[in-house]
Amino acid sequence: MNLIIAIMMLLVAFACSAQQKAQIKVGYDYEVNVDGQVRRADYILLSGQQGSIFYNPTALWMDVISKDDAARQAYGAMAAKLQEAGRGDEVPNRSHSMYVVKDFGKEERTVYDDFSDQFAVYDEPLAEMQWEVVSDSTKTVLGYECVMARSSYHGRNWTAWFAPEIPLSDGPWKFAGLPGLVLRADESQGMHSFTANGIETTNAEIPEMARADWYHKEDRIKYLQSKYKYLQDPLSDIMGGNLPANVQIVVNGKETTAEEVRRASQKMLDLGYDFLETDYHK
């Protein structure tokens, strides 16, 4: 018994020592503009000397509480209550659940992404993203003078604005490798953009992935291909795709029908929506 406790203590101590402190906390607006319709999400970058995590705060919160039975029940009760009160759209949900964890020592990033019940994780070298600095172009973001840099990455052409005043080779999403923090990034089609909305020094700990156990190693291209296929027919994996068209389902708190979900998804694709990376179309 004592041995078990000792081992557990050791594990806890180990887990604690693995925790690293962040030096800076940056809030980003991630906007997706599909034919003028803009959807935005909050993301946070906690970056430290050894590494960083880029996450959606609601997703992180949900993943943390998913480990605790009481919290999960409380969440269920709250969701039911909000649903009942006709405020289902306010139920916290994981609709933005991408995580990018960077390790500066290993010069590597780990991407956690999911759709439906598919959870994928893959590693990439940080150096994969090659930048060309355009020193003549500057822009002020949150009071910082930023320098322009360009990169062609996984099918999209990105323009990033980084602040040499903040000596962190980090940024939103996968961005890294510039001599300063990326405060804004736009892609040439104008569909995806990240813009910093706040910046604070912090000594908060960089959280570990709460549910690393949910994710499986996947090939990025294959994962994105199946994600695209899913969007073409979102409910195909439920009941073998034989869902009656008028069955009532709830998506992110909103009552809808299977047909409705399919149509909305199809409309997005018809309007030209595509992911942050497009090199999976072959």
Binding site: Q23, I24, I44, Q49, G143, G177, L178, P179, N197
Partner: protein, 852 residues
């Protein structure tokens, strides 16, 4: 030829290589940003140091270039590359990377269901001390001058610390005492129903505030103390200002104990006022009124000549079933005031000057204890509150001038009450409530008067007992709650007063022996409909009351019916609208029933009514509120219209130098319109917030008395704004402006509009993280009569040095210009009136703050 060219290019390539090393421990630094900048300062090439600290870049030439190495928490290193050999070794020394911080928007204000969470750190500024200072900057939250907190224009109904209601309505102790640094977040819970047993059944339009403490302040005692001493030019002498604050927030026990004392003009009443106190049903009020003169429209800290002490200890124990709380406070206040008025009459035979100097001292001791047991569960609620308040007040007052005299009064107040409430919920739908309230109060009053060498002494004894017992049953089906409450109220009061030797010119009785008693039985049916986003509530209280006055006036029986209706609509989480209306009849203030004269002060006497009156009133109001938490936008507005009809009025008669007030039959109709609005917004680009507010009121009354119709209208409006921000790391500011305009018209003849304007600004500079310098000041511009303005400017400054996290020193100089008086003169055709009031002069204070 070609070969030579290639060789030339190859030889021109420079390998910029090297290592980045931490100078403190000689270890390689990974992830440092290495930049080669050209002579024009533009980035030519960049890299970052690898796991061995190394970097590698190739460049055609390094002429005129510099190598810059930067890393968070290290000082920047810059090396000219013209005459160096590679590989380079760059040693990094610790340093601070100063960031222009902009609070992360996603976290500044968050919303989850009915709870709005404000991140305290993102609203606090360097000069802030208590959590109250930070609450004032949060849009949607308003902290009044007396410390009362409102959310979206409505008073809050609970103030919690880590979910426990330790302080009740005396939350000023927390807002003035808890350091903002110990609070992680402020949560506002909208539509908060404090009794769990009523949740989902009874709607609440009030919000509650909960302070979420940081981990470092939990499960331990936190202390901080201030001790300050200095010198004041007026009142001349030594000054002090001290505070001790201790707090424990543990899972099963909470305590806040504080001691505060000062003679620097800081009013401690905001820390000892119970903002949730119900009106005492004993209904006693002082007949004697010799208040000290004040200085209108100037803040307390400029005009209060005080010596104050406050001790308060508050504990909460969580028991197996419910919780027990004890709140014990003692406060002492000594206030002095002086005023003189000089009236000059311009007469043909020469000017006549009449001077009146008044100076007085008031001592107030107040001891209160409150002991509460509460069980707050989903199926049962029990609360028993025993409360006792003992106040000793004495006032002495000397007047010199045309009627020289000395007055002194003893005005103690003794009060005890017990309140019991029990609610039980059966099968989720049925509610049974029992309540019992018993109150006793005694308010003896003694007035001594020394005038023209003669001594007068008036003694009043006044005590009352009130009891209220009730039972209620309610049931709820699908959002509809029907309830019926029934009960009885009994009231016994006796008052004696004696005015021994009445000045000869005054007519009337000098003695009162009065009993004003009543017994009321009542029933209140209530209907509440609450489904999804709509709440409708209708109250129909009916009561029958029997009054006995022991022959002073005839006994009376009355029936009262006062229905009220309220409707709330909350279509989404951002918008809420409420409509309310009510009408009813109410009895007069029973204190007005006394046939004999009672002296209020040396030249004012009052005689009571000789009939029992009831008044009636109607009111309608509408209010809206809107919020968009992600944009940090909060707005609310309210319009209210009310009518009242009172069948009596106060009449004034002059007998020589004496004024006698009495009551007479009259038709007194009053109509009031009031509108106000408020918009607050966060200003994230400078970590600040702003607020704009406005109000309008119009009060019209028709008084028909002895066939004389007096129609008076008073109109007033005000606008105000405030803004604060932290635009860069070494500077923050607060600015506030308020402007108001008022006018009175009588029978169609209007006096001119009179305006007051107040500006307040505070600028804080932080040249170094240990040093802080604040300059602040106020400007008052009061219009005395048309186009005649009185301007006052007050300036203060404060320098703070933070030795370490635990010790801080501060030196402050208030009223630098040493303005010692607030004098003004107004002129009319035949006279001038000059008023002189004293202000607190320049004062210097040095203080030490210690924190644990």
């Amino acid at each position: 030829m070609l070969f030579v060219a290639v060789a030339a290019i190859a030889s021109a390539q420079v390998n910029v290589t090297g290592k980045v090393i931490d100078k403190e421990n000689d270890e390689p630094l990974v992830g440092a940003s290495v930049i080669v900048k050209g002579a024009d300062g533009k980035i030519k090439k960049f890299a970052s140091s690898k796991s061995d600290g190394g970097f590698f870049m190739t460049m055609p030439s390094v002429n005129g270039c510099r190598l810059e190495v930067t890393m968070m928490s290290f000082a920047k290193q810059s090396v000219p590359l013209d005459s160096v050999d590679f590989p380079l070794t760059v040693y990094m020394e610790p340093g601070t990377t100063l960031l222009k911080e902009v609070a992360v928007k996603a976290d500044r204000i968050r919303e989850q269901g009915d709870t709005i969470t404000y991140n305290v750190g993102s609203f606090a500024q360097q000069q802030d001390r208590s959590i109250g200072d930070v609450l004032k900057r949060m849009p949607g939250i308003d902290v009044a001058n007396n410390g009362k907190i409102q959310y979206q224009g409505e008073d809050i109904n609970k103030f919690y610390i880590e979910g426990s209601d330790l302080l009740g309505g005396k939350y000023g102790i927390a807002t003035n005492g808890i350091s903002h640094d110990d609070v992680g977040a402020v949560e506002v819970m909208e539509n908060h129903q404090p009794m769990q047993v009523l949740s989902g059944i009874s709607f609440s339009d009030k919000a509650a505030i909960n302070l979420k403490l940081k981990n470092k302040a939990k499960a331990t005692w936190t202390f901080h103390g201030d001790a300050g001493g200095g010198y004041s030019w007026q009142p001349e002498g030594a000054i002090w200002d001290g505070e001790l604050f201790a707090m424990a927030v543990m899972p099963g026990f909470q305590n806040i104990t504080t001691l505060r004392t000062n003679n620097t003009g800081e009013n401690l009443s905001s820390s000892s006022t119970d903002f949730f106190a119900d009106r005492r049903q004993t209904g006693l009020s002082q007949y004697v009124g010799i208040g000290l003169p004040g200085v209108l429209s100037l803040s307390d800290k400029r005009t209060l000549f005080n010596r104050s002490l406050l001790v308060s200890t508050n504990s909460l124990w969580k028991l197996k079933n419910g919780e027990f709380k004890a709140n014990i406070d003692y406060s002492f206040n000594r206030v002095t005031a002086e005023a003189s008025n000089i009236t000059t009459y311009f007469l043909d035979e020469g000017n006549r000057i009449i001077t009146e100097n008044r100076s007085g001292t008031e001592h107030t001791h107040s001891l209160s204890g409150k002991f509460i047991y509460e069980l707050n569960q989903k199926t049962a609620f029990i609360n028993n509150t025993i409360q006792t308040n003992i106040d000793w007040n004495d006032v002495s007052f000397a007047t010199t001038g045309s009627i020289p005299n000395g007055q002194s009064a003893d005005l103690p107040d003794y009060y005890v009450s017990n309140k019991f409430k029990m609610i039980k919920r059966f099968k989720g739908k049925h509610l049974v409530t029992f309540q019992s309230l018993n109150e006793w109060e005694s308010l003896p009053q003694t007035l001594n008067l020394d005038m023209n060498g003669e001594q007068f002494r008036q003694q009043i004894s006044d005590h009352a007992f009130y009891t209220h017992e009730s039972a209620a049953y309610a049931f709820n089906i699908k959002g509809v709650t029907l309830s019926l409450e029934g009960g009885i109220k009994g009231y016994l009061r006796s008052m004696d007063s004696q005015l021994p030797n009445l000045p000869q010119e005054l007519p009337g009785l000098t003695e009162n022996v009065i009993n004003t008693n009543y017994l009321t039985v009542y029933a209140t049916p209530k209907f509440e409909y609450w489904v999804r986003r709509v709440n409708l509530s209708l109250n129909l209280p009916v009561s029958y009351a029997h009054y006995t006055f022991d022959k002073a006036i005839a006994n009376r029986d009355e029936v009262y019916f006062s229905p009220s209706l309220s409707f709330n609509w909350k279509p989404n989480n951002r918008f809420s609208g409420t409509l309310r209306g009510g009408l009813g009849r109410s009895p007069m203030n029973l204190n007005l029933i006394h046939p004999g004269l009672i002296m209020t002060n040396y030249r004012t006497l009052k005689s009571g009514v000789d009939n029992f009156y009831t008044s009636s009133s109607q009111n309608v109001s509408a209010s809206v509120s809107y919020k968009h938490t992600r944009h940090g936008l909060f707005a609310n507005g309210m319009v209210m219209h009310s009518w009242s009809h009172i069948p009596y009025t106060m009449a004034q008669q002059l007998f020589g130098d004496y004024v006698v007030y009495s009551y007479a039959d009259a038709k007194n109709d009053d109509r009031m319109l009031m509108a106000m609005g408020n918009i607050g917004k966060t200003l994230d680009f400078m970590r600040g917030s702003c607020n704009v507010n406005g109000s309008f009121s119009r009060n019209e009354s028709h008084l028909l008395s002895q066939r004389q119709l007096v129609n008076s209208v008073s109109t007033g409006w005000s606008v105000g704004g405030k803004i604060n921000g932290n635009p860069c790391r070494w500077f923050s500011f607060d600015y506030r402006i308020d402007y108001s305009d008022n006018r009175l018209s009588m029978n169609g003849i209007s006096e001119s509009w009179l305006s007051t304007m107040e500006n307040e600004i505070s600028l804080t500079f932080i040249p170094h993280r240990k040093w802080q310098w604040t300059v602040s000041g106020e400007h008052y511009r009061n219009e005395l009569n048309e186009h005649n303005y009185k301007n006052v400017v007050m300036l203060d400054t404060k320098l703070t040095f933070q030795l370490n996290k635990k010790i801080e020193f501060a030196a402050s100089l208030t009223n630098i210009l040493n303005k010692r008086s607030y004098n003004y003169t107004t002129y009319s055709q035949l006279s001038s009136f000059e008023s002189r009031r004293q202000l607190r002069g320049r004062q210097f204070l040095f203080s030490i703050t210690l924190r644990k």
